[in-house]
Symmetry: C2
Subunit: 111 residues, 2 copies
């Protein structure tokens, strides 16, 4: 049996990175963010037109991105407009850049 050592908890960095990674762990959600990077904003219906999934499924993926903090929605009935949450996007960018040890120049740039 192994000696009883002080076991290590996961760091905040590890937990936050994993949380963001989880949000990116489905192609649909990556595609939504790719789309939002190009278009700056979109409505749920735009994605339903483009992608081969049911409206309810797409809505669910949007919800996950929202809960992970990567996007935000502005209700404008009957539509909801989504865009990237820039603060958390920058945070995720920084976490991944640090993780991959990438030299990064534009992490502090504004939109």
């Amino acid at each position: 049996m192994r000696a009883t050592k002080e076991k290590v908890q996961f760091t905040q960095q590890e937990q936050e990175l994993a949380r963001f990674a989880k949000a990116l762990s489905h192609p649909m959600r990556v595609a939504i963010l790719n789309y939002l990077e190009k278009q700056l904003q979109c409505y749920t219906g735009d994605l339903v037109d483009i992608f081969p999934m049911a409206q309810s499924t797409i809505s669910q993926h949007i919800k996950e991105l929202k809960e992970a903090g990567l996007i935000q929605g502005e209700i404008n009935l009957p539509k909801t407009r989504y865009c990237v949450n820039q603060d958390n996007w920058k945070k995720a960018k920084r976490l991944f850049a640090d993780f991959f040890n990438v030299d990064f120049k534009n992490l502090t740039c504004e939109i």
Copy 2:
């Protein structure tokens, strides 16, 4: 009802990024990679000593990282030595850098 449009499939970039992101979607796996970046190599037992999880669970997380291509193992009985798979690490790094639009310098650097 919405008009019947040509629905878009996910790009290879989106699928590959999602695959890597899935591998990074658990703090334990992020922690293993963090450890490997510092230590360059490790044995399964090192991780069992450090992290508060059962040996079988840690072995399973290692397996997932291996199957995602991010690490590779060299059997050296009774131990197995793991290290980062540099080719796929670079690939992942590039995918995430592109995704986040980060300027990166050292993507072409060697080990």
